[in-house]
Symmetry: C2
């Protein structure tokens, strides 16, 4: 629920339909006999991401609703020499040692990944529709009066977390465990990380204790747990992946996407969604804050982003808090 | 100096050569007579950004060093119908309502922006070479023993800041001023924002006081200044741009890229470089922390990213801190 536009951590990645993986190879070299979007009638742009060169479009194909996602492909290092040799360049400007061009590449060296959902349901369309994001400021009192009742009423299941902790699921993915019931945790790769390269390293530490919903519940009582996660998490990642603590960003989300305490370990150079100051809280800061004041996260006003369609935002609106 | 890979705030944008602006139109419709990169010999990839579909390459053109930057262009909403109609689609997989394709577009509808620097100097090459980033943890003592002497020794000029405060430069860009010598500040658009759309709104508040280098110098004495910046900055942005406080991310950088206290106001949905939890500090958190403990930023260990070639990192290394 309290998931920002960027909030795709934890399990949510695993829940998305695996449209790419399974059949990708099967039809790889087949040429489609017809262009399914040749008579596409554009209804509206659902979302435009100029920085990442992707766009999400709603339209009609033969009277059926369709969602089309276009995304330019990254440069392939192995085809760069061919790209530069075989393209046409149109000069735009020249000044001293600098010149700029528009490069016209052979289409097969400059592909656009295209995903078509047809017929698309209202749910597909809503999923891709850009939702405005608001920054809320939640006081400790707001948490107890609005957020906590909302969370409790939603009965979000964290059964999948318990399955991991009890080794009923994903046991083979666990890279470290401290079984201590108070200070212990399991460490495993996040689903968004394919573990093929270290640039986008992403692991999650999930605590064994089941009574800590989020940052808001932390007090000085939990300092042993937190310093344990920090030291053993960093040690494991150094040993297993050769990545030292100075290359890691270690943090909580608030709001988290599920209410069982967990810590994110990501490569510091990886600009991962959800690492912005408006949602992330460095573990090292949290430890110091609790050392200073045990009730720091109990009393403090915390800012976090919410999408316009989030139920919690609605609660804050009804209470006249925005 | 203490500028992370992403640290391009404040004035640094203005210092970069204006390679695009001046001559862009002049040669707009000229076709280049030859392809300057047709005999480009690739030396190495300086930087690859698959998420943003850009790549920085070092190579040789006729025995001269050259840097070539390639960046795929964003989708143009006005040419989408033509793009979909005139492209070829190669089916990759089909599963239920989902199908994926590689789209082969006419080259003029799928341009690649190309920047060539030739002959390129060592400085050009170094500028674009990816630098490893490390996360440092600086204690209050480290600040006084290592960082402060380093900053002071570098004699970074902030004359351009004084020029703004004294209306000797950029006076027409100021959108608000509170002239009070203690609690006052000027607010103006950051150079990275062209003010043409609100999606990437970015303003900077620069304080009139000249004795506050950064977050580290702040105490409870400065609370009036900080709450003043927050309330008048938000009020001005709401009035002038129609953007309410709930759509703003308001924060400091630590390390900042120049040592005269300033506050960043950016659109909350704009994933701007430097807004990550490892470098940004929300103004609302800073205010609360100083209310709790006037010496919070004097004593606290603060984490921040530094590029491998940063002189400050070298100091920390020599002192055995990493």
């Amino acid at each position: 629920m309290a998931e920002s536009e960027n909030g795709k951590d934890g399990k949510s990645a695993a829940k998305r339909p695996k449209i790419d993986a399974e059949n990708e190879k099967r039809n790889a070299d087949e040429q489609s006999t017809d262009n399914p979007v040749v008579d596409f009638q554009l209804t509206r742009i659902l979302r435009d991401n100029p920085r990442e060169k992707s766009i999400f479009i709603h339209g009609k194909v033969k009277d059926q609703d369709a969602v089309v996602i276009l995304e330019k492909s990254p440069f392939r290092q192995d085809s760069l020499p061919e790209l530069l040799k075989t393209s046409q360049l149109k000069l735009e400007m020249q000044n001293d040692v600098y010149s700029t061009y528009q490069l016209h590449a052979p289409p097969q060296l400059n592909e656009i990944k295209t995903t078509v959902m047809c017929p698309a349901t209202e749910k597909h369309i809503k999923k891709y529709l850009h939702q405005e994001v608001f920054l809320l400021e939640e006081s400790g009192e707001d948490y107890r009066n609005l957020t906590l009742p909302y969370i409790s009423g939603q009965s979000f299941s964290v059964q999948w977390v318990y399955n991991i902790l009890e080794k009923k699921a994903e046991a083979d993915r666990i890279v470290f465990e401290d079984p201590d019931p108070d200070a212990g945790f399991v460490l495993l790769p996040d689903f968004k990380w394919d573990q093929k390269q270290l640039q986008d390293l992403y692991l999650i530490a999930i605590v064994h204790r089941r009574d800590i919903k989020s940052l808001r519940d932390l007090t000085a009582e939990h300092l042993t747990l937190l310093t344990n996660i920090r030291s053993k998490g960093e040690e494991t990642i150094q040993k297993k992946y050769g990545v030292p603590p100075s290359k890691l960003r270690v943090y909580f989300h608030y709001q988290p996407s599920y209410y069982h305490l967990h810590v994110h370990f990501t490569a510091v150079e990886y600009n991962v969604p959800g690492c912005g100051v408006e949602r992330a809280h460095l573990l090292s800061d949290v430890i110091q804050n609790l050392q200073l004041d045990s009730s720091y996260y109990h009393n403090r006003s915390l800012s976090f982003p919410l999408r316009a369609d989030d139920g919690l935002l609605q609660r804050f609106r009804e209470a006249g808090k925005i």
